[in-house]
């Protein structure tokens, strides 16, 4: 229930064995020996809720059990600020880097695991599988600054990678991890670059070769007291967000809670008018209670001036807040969505149907009344369906091609409704004959006059499958459709059919349909090759027309 209000999804409550589960700490102290695990889905933009520390902190502030922490940057007592020097070679491969130090931290097994887990979650999410940002964490006491972030040819980089017993060159490292179930997914990010990114300390010790692997030398352990965190990136904004999240979450375990040294950490101040908040949500709260609501969302707020402004302090953990509407949402969440009075907008409008859909709806009803059953087939299909199986070459169709289909079923958008109906019959061969099916739906064809180079076309297709071809049945259906559309059979102003050739149809058993002075489609008895290719055994006739000229 608490999760629901806060916008979290309690996926399932499982046993302790479920390693990726998280404990929900609403009422309990975290780390309680509760063996029940709660699997929780957090909103995709709330990176601060990805670890237990942040989640518990967020919920406790929400429930007003603790005050929202204020994150601070501190200078090291001994004066020496660590520096990370970025050389210009990195521009060719991974141009950005930011870093911070967590001082006097105390790890336990649980904390350490959570620290590693958060990095992994960030890597998968905002870091886009390390392509945008990669995180490296190091035991600061094993190295000495200033640090250098540079890029070197793979052959010149040589170090002992994390948890390995000997030194390798960068090229060897790539080979080494080619079969690693985890790391192999990241190799492509730098593999074909002439230079690989690498971070050294002042003595030439390799900290890491981002985004692949850290060095073993700087490995952090449960006894590590000072952690050097670096984020290398192709997107500087995301690198700052990631670094901020990591250090704010784990500064809880520093001697001076919520303090650390870092490059970017800052609280931003925003001002929002209470009026606007009330108006957007549809409530009428006093400015002071709005400020209180926001404070519960870790957005420390107070009323300023004569009460017509609320000043909000946005902590570095909340990179998702980029506009006043994000603040308004937090106020609404704290107020409780389900406490908001529901109202009906006074917006007065006259409804209109989309004419093409209106015509489609009317025709569907009458086609069913004419004894045909409606099918609903896929808009995507294989090249074979619309080309080979109908006896035409794919290049002669105006088909739109998909670049990244996972299977052959999604190679093209259909250029005809016929294959879908033929496949529907093939899948229902056990049903009593005759089978009479229809579909009114869109096909897609290339059209260079459109902004995207393609357009839909609304087609009507019907098919008759029985022991006899039933051309007269399909022909009769065409006559009925034309009757419904008030188009008379006449050469001058009505519709007519004229013998035609089409590879899908049996020679001499195919006609082209003309209406409104244009060709609108064809009808005929399928060619035996088509019938066989669609795994059918009976004669079959069909009709397909474009209905857009009848609008």
């Amino acid at each position: 229930e608490l999760c629901f209000q806060f916008g979290l999804e309690l996926d399932e409550i499982t046993s302790e064995k479920d390693i990726i589960s998280k404990e929900q700490g609403g009422g309990k102290a975290e780390g309680a020996s509760d063996i029940i695990l709660y699997k929780i889905d957090v909103p995709a933009n709330r990176y601060d809720l990805l670890c237990l520390e942040g989640l518990v902190r967020g919920l406790q502030v929400f429930k007003e059990r603790i005050k929202a922490p204020r994150y601070k940057r501190i200078m090291p007592a001994n004066g020496g600020v660590q520096r990370l020097i970025i050389t210009e070679e990195t521009a060719q491969v991974r141009p950005h880097a930011v870093a911070a130090v967590l001082r006097n931290i105390t790890f336990s097994k649980d904390r350490y695991d959570s620290f590693i887990d958060l990095q992994e979650k960030l890597h998968q999410n905002i870091c886009r599988k390390r392509a945008l940002v990669a995180i490296g964490t190091h035991d600061l006491d094993t190295i000495s600054g200033p640090f250098t972030y540079t890029a070197r040819p793979p052959s010149e980089i040589r170090f002992k990678p994390l948890n390995q017993s000997k030194e390798y060159t960068a090229s060897e490292i790539m080979d080494l991890y080619r079969t690693d179930s985890q790391l192999k997914h990241y190799l492509h990010i730098i593999e074909n670059k002439p230079l690989y990114p690498v971070i050294y300390d002042s003595n030439g010790v390799v900290l890491s070769m981002p985004p692949i692997i850290n060095g073993n030398h700087t490995k952090i352990t449960l006894n590590t007291r000072n952690v050097f965190v670096e984020c290398t990136a192709t997107d500087i904004t995301k690198a700052k967000i990631v670094l901020d999240i990591l250090v704010t979450m784990f500064s809880e375990y520093c001697e001076k809670q919520f303090t650390h040294k870092c490059n970017f950490l800052c609280n931003m101040l925003e001002k929002v008018k209470p009026d606007l908040i009330n108006k957007k949500i549809g409530i009428s709260e006093k400015p002071s209670s709005l400020a209180k609501l926001l404070t519960r969302m870790c957005l420390k707020s107070h009323v300023t001036g004569s009460g017509n402004n609320i000043e909000i302090e946005i902590p570095p953990t909340r990179a998702d807040i980029i506009h006043a509407c994000d603040i308004i949402e937090d106020a609404a969440i704290a107020y409780g969505y389900n406490n908001i009075q529901m109202t009906i907008p006074k917006t007065y409008t006259i409804a209109n149907q989309f004419p093409l859909n209106k015509l489609t709806e009317l025709l569907r009803q009458d086609l069913a009344a004419a004894g045909f059953t409606e099918a609903l087939t896929f808009a995507l299909c294989s090249q074979e369906d619309i080309a080979d199986k109908l006896g035409v070459d794919i290049s002669s169709t105006k088909a739109v091609h998909i670049a990244n289909p996972k299977t052959a079923e999604f190679q093209v958008a259909r250029t005809s409704l016929l294959p879908g109906l033929l496949k529907t019959i093939a899948a229902n061969r056990k049903m009593p004959l005759p089978l009479k099916l229809f579909e009114i739906s869109d096909i897609v064809i290339k059209d260079s006059t459109k902004d995207v180079g393609a357009r839909n076309q609304r087609n009507l297709c019907a098919i008759y499958y029985n022991k006899n071809p039933g051309f007269e049945v399909i022909h009769g259906l065409l006559d009925r459709v034309m009757q419904l559309l008030a188009v008379p059979p006449s050469k001058a102003s009505g519709y007519l059919i004229r013998a035609a050739e089409d590879s899908a149809f049996f020679p001499g058993r195919c006609a082209e349909i003309f209406a409104k002075g244009q060709s609108i489609g064809k009808l005929g008895v399928f060619h035996p090759d088509v019938i066989t290719k669609f795994e059918l055994t009976m004669p079959c006739s069909a009709l397909e027309i474009n209905i857009e000229p009848f609008l």
Binding site: M342, H401, E409
Partner: protein, 501 residues
Amino acid sequence: MATDGPALAELLLQRLERAGGGGLGSLEAAAALGLEHQHVTVPVLHSSPVCSPQVIEAEQRSSKRWELTPEGKEIVQEGSHEARVFDSIPAEGLPQSELMKLPSGKVGFSKAMSNKWVRLDKNADGGPRVFRAVESVQDSVREKLQLVQQGEAESLEEKDRNELKKRKLLMEVIIKTYWIRKGSAFSTTVTKQETDLTPEMLASGSWRDLKFKAYNFEALGIMPESGHLHPLLKVRTQFRQIFLEMGFTEMPTNNFIESSFWNFDALFQPQQHPARDQHDTFFLQDPAEATDFPMDYLKRVKKIHSQGGYGSQGYKYDWKLEEARKNILRTHTTAVSARMLYRLAQQKFTPAKYFSIDRVFRNETLDATHLAEFHQIEGVVADYGLTLGDLMGTLREFFTKLGISQLRFKPAYNPYTEPSMEVFSYHRGLQKWVEVGNSGIFRPEMLLPMGLPEGVSVIAWGLSLERPTMIKYGINNIRELVGHKVNLQMVYDGPLCRLDS
């Protein structure tokens, strides 16, 4: 003996009358009347116009009986194979090769040998020759079969019966018999009953004096021949109806191919967003790129992404036109909503309510409830000063029309709405809250670059068409509903779609 209906029935009824209240068995009745049993079975009797279920009642029983196989019958007539072989051997014997040519030769010879009725002289002149070994034989097989034919199979020893069964001369058959009793309207006098009214009866008025055979109201009628509408599209029709009742105008969604610009960028969805990944979205190879954009608007979109503006910090990244140009199969109909809202912004603002129900495409892993294409239902309201309460109120009205009254709202995240809320309804069957839709207020970063006035809010919600349809029609596998693997019987048998009942 006549076996036509009335005559037979009358005889049977008379026998039944004599048998009294206890009734009689159909087998005995048939034997007594000299009929084949099949003429006395109840289906036959009840189909006779005189013996309705009210006249006679019958109870089905079954009994076992031994019968001769066709071969067994032949043996009763002609003698057993071995006897026939014995009979055909003259005193001077017969060459084995000739014996084997006889119809009973093979089987008869081996049996006759094992009975020691005949002997084989392999060294005779002109090849092996068969001679009689005894003077005369007793054909016990034939005798036993004769007993069976006379209905005295029980007098045979079981071992003999089994032996004959093994030789496929006897078979055990189960016969369905009936125990026939007088019915509530029993009478021995037979009145001929008419099947149905005819034009002649109406013309002559004879219907007044005729008795009519009772209808069997237990049986089903004959289904009318007709076509059928597809269940998913029946539900679509209802959703359209609901939107129209609520004053929403239908959007032109007949464009499956969309540019990334309208599908993502216009909605303030950043270019590195996972939804824009190859794994989630179908990109086009041909035509690969869109060529035509409203350039002023595009510049404003680029600025809001890369630098911010309109009170927003933006996403601060390097926005690329190439990404926006990429053609895709639209992943949501909200791309069309964006086009409609942009169009709305190009004229003097008037409030608008839009809806659409159409196909969208996702390059996802398929399972029992997910396909690569599905239908999205979407509603949009644009007006000055719309609130979150207005969104919830509109949703309440919409879902009430679907027969869903208990609603709850959960905070959620969506890149182009803020605030965002997921809609849950209480499912009585599952006894839990289930998600029924997603909703929110479009972000200012989406609306203001379009040119909509600052005070205008746009509320929107969406849901899939497939999910409520599967719940409504109790379908577990989406492939039975959508696509060519549809179960046509399900389409034929589907009820009306009444969402509120």
